[in-house]
Amino acid sequence: MKKLSARRRHPLAAVVVLLLALAATGGLYAAFAPAGTAKADETAQSLAIEEGKKLYSVGCASCHGTGGQGTTDGPSLVGVGSAAVDFQVGTGRMPAQQPGAQVPRKKVIYTQAEIDQLAAYVASLGAGPITPTEGQYSPDGADIAKGGELFRTNCAQCHNFTGEGGALTHGKYAPSLEGVSPKHLYEAMQTGPQNMPSFPDTTMPEKEKKDIIAYVQAVNSEKADNPGGLKLGGLGPVSEGLFAWIFGLGALIAVAIWVAAHTAKAKKS
């Protein structure tokens, strides 16, 4: 029973489902995609741009301008590339709901197909980072330990040791990396969304990005081990201190009250 229940909850279950889904999508795509002619590709591409433009004018143009040139409410999208669109829309950050210190991650409102169309349109405005392929971001076979070292050099200062997130100035923050897909991790490093600096391939090659993704997956995901028990948010001494006070000292004081209390007296008999 225990084994079964453990498997049911096994974090790999999610990965297996994801892989199956990816395989199915890929298979379907392969089945329906026009067989490898450049012309057909081009047509599909221009079709996507057309569709993307329509989506864009409805959902994005009010802030980013009708031609993606940017307004006072939103930056120019010329040259941000399809990777930026895939990240921003794919994590639900765009379209933004309200102005604030930072645009938060939200529920995604576009389908992946729509996102791809939007990305294709924005990419057509000017050259920029291209949405990575699975071969680029998949952490399979990457060096986790090297990724850890790179993570501590390049990422941990904002995102914490294991990617739990952290504060920046004036209400801005580096978000938690828990549950962020490898593709979006890759795109974030590549494009530097909002106030995050970018880590382009010239200074951090693709392989190193993979290492980092593998590390994040290993330490901050469903399948990450916490041998010591509750990880208390992975936030370090502050949450440990709160735990020690509330549950440690709290429990001990409760015990002390029991030890010192007078035993119930016999009722008058």
Binding site: A6, L168, S198, T263
Partner: protein, 350 residues
């Protein structure tokens, strides 16, 4: 601390008055004395007492079982076995089992003992008299006399030569201990003022360990560099990188407000020390839109587009900038060491 006498009337009255001596009718607030002892159920009902006895024995037995379970867990679970236990997550089976069984084994000993004390041992409250901590005047007089006799016999007050030389010897002898501390570390000399950076040293990317080219560094990107010739395997790597760590960003030259910063940059590529000038944390929370960099330790904030001056927090001065250029192979290189000490300020910094 004042030693003058306090007028008696300012001290609360009655603290030392004999409690319970006054008749209740006269003084409604008088101390009625210890209330009579009321028996517990265990005191009057032998069956209840037996129940308590069994409960205590049960707890001691549970402790024994828990210790056996502890030993069994130690043998059964491999040290690297991970299990999923709600709500704790994927935890070490061994740690979890050992901790719980050890905890139970200890807790039940304690719980048994306390339950025993609470239900079966006498719970009659007893009063113990207190006695003044200070000695009686007679004792004090005796001690003073003894001391005076001892002091006189030693001749300490009379033979001043002995006294003075003894004080001299005693105050000098700790000096040897102090002198021995000298080799705890070297003198500061210029150590805090120099780093490994020197004219012509290429900027090595910390990620790839390759020298950086200007075209590698994109606007809005963040890169860390160390000086050419330093390797993570070097004996002094930690000490060197603690001073030489470099943070490289590229800012549109027209956005750079500080004249010297622009001059020391290469086409908008600026290199600043990664070591915070507050207490030395590696500062690098770079916000590429505002060009602010925040220290994760104490939140000093520096404006990298304005000579890295401090705009918030406890740091006292700007991050030192490294003057960089491009060598004939097209790689970024330092044009010298930092012109001021990196890291936290110190007395001799000036």
């Amino acid at each position: 601390m004042s030693t003058q006498e306090i007028p008696e009337e300012n001290l609360p009255a009655g603290q030392d008055a004999a409690h319970g001596a006054v008749k209740v009718a006269d003084d409604p607030f008088a101390d009625p004395g210890l209330p009579p002892h009321k028996p517990r159920i265990q005191d009057i009902d032998e069956r209840a007492a037996r129940r308590s006895e069994r409960a205590v024995a049960l707890m001691f037995t549970l402790s024994m079982l828990a210790t056996i379970a502890f030993i069994a867990s130690y043998v059964i679970f491999p040290v690297d076995q991970i299990v999923y236990i709600w709500p704790f997550g994927r935890v070490s089976a061994l740690n979890f089992a050992l901790g719980l069984t050890l905890g139970a084994a200890l807790f039940f000993i304690g719980a048994g003992a306390v339950h025993w004390a609470r239900t079966l041992m006498s719970d009659v409250e007893v009063a113990d008299e207190r006695h003044p901590i200070a000695a009686s005047p007679e004792v004090k007089a005796q001690v003073m006399a003894d001391f005076a006799a001892g002091a006189a016999e030693s001749g300490f007050g009379r033979r001043k030569l002995i006294r003075n030389t003894m004080f001299g010897a005693l105050s000098l002898v700790p000096l040897s201990g102090l002198v021995l501390m000298r080799d705890m570390g070297p003198l500061p000399e210029k150590k805090l003022r120099t780093t490994m950076w020197a004219k012509g040293k290429q900027l090595i990317n910390m990620n790839t360990h390759e020298p950086l080219r200007p075209e590698d560094v994109a606007v809005g990107s963040l890169t860390f560099a160390m000086p050419e010739g330093l390797s993570e395997h070097d004996h002094h790597f930690q000490t060197e990188i603690a001073k030489a760590a470099l943070m490289i960003v590229r800012i549109q030259p027209e956005d750079i407000k500080d004249k010297r910063e622009l001059e020391w940059s290469h086409e908008g590529i600026v290199a600043f020390s990664k070591i915070c000038t507050h207490v030395g944390c590696p500062i690098s929370l770079y916000e590429q839109q505002t060009h602010h960099v925040l220290c994760p330790c104490h939140q000093s904030t520096f404006d990298l587009s304005d000579g890295a001056r401090v705009i918030f927090g406890p740091a006292g001065h700007a991050l030192p900038q490294l003057r960089i250029g491009v060598n004939d192979k097209g790689f970024l290189e330092a044009l010298g060491d930092f012109d001021e000490p990196v890291g936290p300020a110190f007395w001799e910094r000036g």
